[in-house]
């Protein structure tokens, strides 16, 4: 019972990070019908930019609120710009080309980022070594939030079987309870992720931009002829998705403490799976799919073996696609024959 509770908490924390990345996949798919495989790598860049920002701010800023806010802001701005650049120079010129062209380009950008970041470029500028690209070695992410136990729950432990109890040993009161720890960073990242998702929900469903985005997703040529600035809507969609990915990158780095350039490939793939499970193109679906996937993974790790984690994640995808090909919340696209 206690173990289950701990797994649920961990799964939920992981799920919200998946969700932030999955939202980027689903939004871009929504407007362009493009699977932006570079999205996970934008998240990786977000984590590294956060790392660099924390490094520049110095140890004095660690653990302070303004330090954390600055780290997030710098990373959001940088990734927003990166998202815009990728759309403007890689995808926009291909918009009227066959969809496969853009898809291959996306994979190319993904490789450029994930392998580019494995280069180590450290020129000396004005007598100081400046790291432009970090190299392949994992780096420890600075503690921008000082870890602390937010709450520690004491749950009664199940009584041990009588034949396991050694009557000679003195009774230890600590064995009667199991500790369930909720860390402050788990709470903080959960709250940040929820706030971002709420904000996105407001943008998509309560603003002109959101309506324009949905109109573009139905038919961008008609949307343009109705006075909707299609290029701007698509660029903003990329920037928003990239900003969410930046936040996800930092939250992931806080959780996992180690960052390395291939991080985006693994997590990006999981988030993509989550978006498909939820019904790609559907905003709420992405969140639901992400949480379901993370819980599923966490339970496998907890009760079976961590080697089964990825197998079960993709197995889950196959089961969902067999039972509901359109995803949990996706709509069926009727094919006219």
């Amino acid at each position: 019972m206690a173990g289950l509770l701990q797994h649920l908490i961990n799964g939920l924390a992981e799920g919200t990070i998946y969700a932030l990345v999955a939202l980027g996949y689903t939004m871009v798919y929504g407007v362009l019908k493009l699977i932006n495989f570079a999205h996970g790598d934008v998240m990786m860049v977000g984590a590294y930019v956060g790392y660099a920002a924390a490094f520049v701010l110095g140890d004095g800023a660690l653990g302070s609120l303004w330090g954390a806010v600055l780290v997030f802001l710098v990373s959001i701005l940088f990734c927003g710009l990166l998202g815009w650049l990728v759309e403007r120079f890689a995808y926009r010129p291909l918009r009227e080309k066959p969809r496969l062209t853009a898809l291959i380009t996306a994979i190319g950008i993904s490789f450029t980022l994930s392998y580019g970041f494995q280069l180590k470029v450290q020129p000396e500028i004005a007598g100081k070594k400046v790291t432009l690209l970090p190299g392949a070695d994992p780096r420890t992410f600075p503690e921008i939030i000082t870890p602390a136990e937010w709450v520690t729950l004491h749950v009664p432990a199940p009584a041990p079987a009588p034949d396991e109890v050694d009557p000679a040993a003195p009774h230890d009161a600590a064995d009667d309870f199991v500790e369930i720890i909720i860390w402050n960073w788990q709470v903080i990242s959960f709250v940040i992720a929820l706030a971002l998702m709420g904000g996105l929900q407001v943008l998509v469903f309560r603003t002109k931009f959101g309506r324009a985005m949905r109109a573009v997703s139905h038919d961008h040529r008609v949307a343009a002829l109705l006075g909707i600035p299609v290029d701007r809507v698509i660029a903003l969609t990329f920037m928003l998705g990239s900003a969410l990915a930046a936040c996800a990158g930092i939250l992931y780095a806080i959780k996992d403490t180690l960052i390395q350039p291939m991080l985006g490939v693994q997590l990006g793939l999981k988030a993509f799976v989550a978006a498909v499970i939820g019904g790609i193109g559907n905003v709420q679906g992405a969140v639901l799919g992400a949480v379901a996937l993370a819980l599923c993974e966490e339970l496998v790790v907890g009760y079976a073996s961590s080697s089964w984690r990825d197998a079960v994640a993709f197995g889950f995808l196959i089961v969902v696609l067999l039972l509901r090909p359109q995803g949990l919340l996706g709509r069926v696209q009727a094919e006219k024959v």
Binding site: T207, K208, R221, V222, A224, G227, V230
Partner: protein
């Protein structure tokens, strides 16, 4: 400024070696009801695509409300007052009839700062142009901060937009169908919904691409009455492409005839009907068919 809402001067459109449209000229004024006819492949739809910015003309000029729009993007041209419907219906199929119109109305809601002020700033000094950009950005994202800060105005705007879209549906006789998905509407209603949606962008000039295609005789007769009523109610200039000779001859005041991209005749229905070139173009087509 002339009172021409849409002016096309010697527009030519080439695709590689093919001249799809050759030195096409046309003027649409407020209250005009003009027709564009010609056999299949004559370049009628190409002409519409050139006017609305889907293609930029190879040579020649297109002016909307006095502004030269060659090479401008379709949404900018639309905002200057030009709207269209499509030969093959292109509604947002998965949205309701009402939402289809709301999309168009919303994209053209009233700007925060008057067009006149913005225009003056944009033509002004460097500092004024920078100011215009800031105000433009404020205007573009006003509903973002409004939505995020939770300040009022959203429900008011939503109500205004819904009311406006509802009015347009009523004009087109679609009120009873407002909440049905566009894809479930009968064919004739889908055609009328396309017109309602185009009207939602508040145009000066409306381009109708075969509005009666697929309609029965009765529906066509109703449509003729409706198109005239729209022209009067919204004081629009209307240019329509139509295959149905009876409909075109019945409502258009002037007709331009295209064949192989060339303008072969311009005039009143009676003049066009008597023009030997027109007869040849149509009979020639019939003879081949």
């Amino acid at each position: 400024m002339s009172d021409a809402q849409l002016e096309v001067k010697q527009a030519t459109m080439r695709f590689g070696g093919l001249k799809a449209l050759s030195e096409f000229s046309l003027t649409v004024k407020r209250g005009d009801l003009l027709g564009l006819i010609g056999p299949n492949g004559a370049g009628k739809t190409t002409a519409f695509n050139v006017l609305t910015g889907v293609y930029a003309p190879t040579t020649g000029d297109v002016l909307v409300s006095g502004t030269r729009v060659n090479g401008r993007r379709p949404h900018e041209i639309n905002r200057l007052g030009l709207a269209r419907t499509f030969q093959n219906i292109r509604l947002f199929k998965e949205l309701t009839a009402l939402d289809n119109v709301k999309v168009a109305v919303l994209a053209n809601t009233r700007p925060l700062f008057s067009r006149e002020l913005m225009g003056r700033l944009r033509r002004g000094t460097g500092a004024q142009r920078a100011g215009a950009k800031v105000l433009g950005a404020l205007d573009n994202y006003r509903d973002w901060w409004r939505a995020i800060l939770g300040t009022g105005g959203f429900h008011q705007e939503e109500a205004d937009v819904t009311a406006r879209a509802g009015q347009l549906l009523e004009v087109m006789g679609l009120s009873a169908r407002a909440d049905e998905l566009a894809k479930n509407l009968p064919y004739g209603d889908q055609r009328r919904l396309e017109i309602a949606r185009a009207l939602g962008t508040n145009p000066q000039v409306l381009l109708l691409d075969e509005p009666a295609a697929g309609m029965n005789t009765r529906e066509k007769a109703d449509l003729m009455v409706l198109i005239r009523a729209l022209r009067d109610k919204f004081s629009l200039g209307i240019l329509l492409i139509e295959h149905d000779m009876k409909l075109v001859m019945g409502i258009c005041e002037r007709i331009t005839v295209l064949d192989h991209g060339e303008t072969i005749a311009v005039g009143t229905p009676a003049e066009v009907r008597a023009n030997p070139k027109v007869i040849e173009a149509y009979l020639g087509e019939a003879a081949h068919a």
